[in-house]
Amino acid sequence: MTYPSSSPKVRIEFVALLAACALFLSTVEYLIPKPVPFMRIGLANLPLIIGLGLLTKREYILLALLKVLGQGLITGTIFSYIILFSIAGTFASTLLMYIVYRFFKQWVSLIGVSIAGAMASNVAQLTLSQYLLFGAAAKLIAPPFLVVGLISSIILGVFAQQFEQNSAWYRSLRKGSL
């Protein structure tokens, strides 16, 4: 079951809208004070979680691509090594979240989807940091990163769950009245 509008033009605009939301949420995240440096809730991943129930596979990949490129342009990091971390993290989590949602929908809530996505993203980025930044020492930073990722992804998952249940916008999208 996906977002029911059939017009490809409307659907692709909807993808751009969700991608814009990801940009917006990353600016919101930037404003939230953090207890630990490097700690992120990953608010910008919310559209990727919400989009699971609304988009086709192609549109979903497009959303991930737009999120990466848009963030790269806004932060100016698009031509630097940071974009590699962004690509690795986003696409690893996108892939795993899609698989979990697509094949295990009956048994998993958005919280589980969110945790799976965060773990995939962290493992991909830690692997990359081993080659790009830290060498063997990347293994030392893995435990704190994974722990933080687990906690923040649970928060994000609860958040996504709440949104899906309470949002009038989401409901009318699923009914096809928007």
């Binding site: 998993v108 809530s109 589980g112 945790i115 893995a142 435990p143 994974l146 769950q161 249940q165």
Partner: protein, 124 residues
């Protein structure tokens, strides 16, 4: 209202396993074999697993070493007898090469990994 489901618990537990496994890396990093070189009254340290070359000066000139594929040897030395070059490659912790005329001392340090049959070799 949707609640937490079985799959969520499974994913959560799998994440905990992953995190637990990642903590295992803390034990493994110490005790990697190192090449330690004493020369000029100071000490140099190199990772035995990283290929490199280095030169040290002493009373009679320069002594160069080469680390390659987990082994180290003296590549060239300005000393007369060249005993250090003749010593060839060393690769295990505890082994050493010395160039007396040039006052360069090369040794490998690190935990000695128990190998199959290794204990017997020492005991008998």
């Amino acid at each position: 209202m949707k609640k937490i489901r079985l799959g969520d618990i499974i994913i959560f537990l799998l994440s905990l396993v992953l995190i637990g496994a990642s903590f295992g890396s803390y034990g493994k990093l110490s005790g990697k074999p190192e090449v330690r070189v004493q020369a000029e009254g100071r000490e140099w340290v190199y990772d035995l697993s990283v290929n490199t070359t280095a030169s040290f000066s002493g009373p009679v000139g320069t002594t160069s070493i080469e680390i390659h594929d987990g082994k180290v040897h003296v590549l060239a030395s300005d000393c007369r007898n060249k005993v250090c070059i003749a010593a060839g490659w060393i690769s295990s912790a505890g082994e050493w090469i010395i160039c007396l005329p040039n006052n360069v001392f090369i040794r490998i340090e690190g935990s000695i990994e128990p190998q199959a049959g290794g204990v017997d070799d020492i005991s008998f």
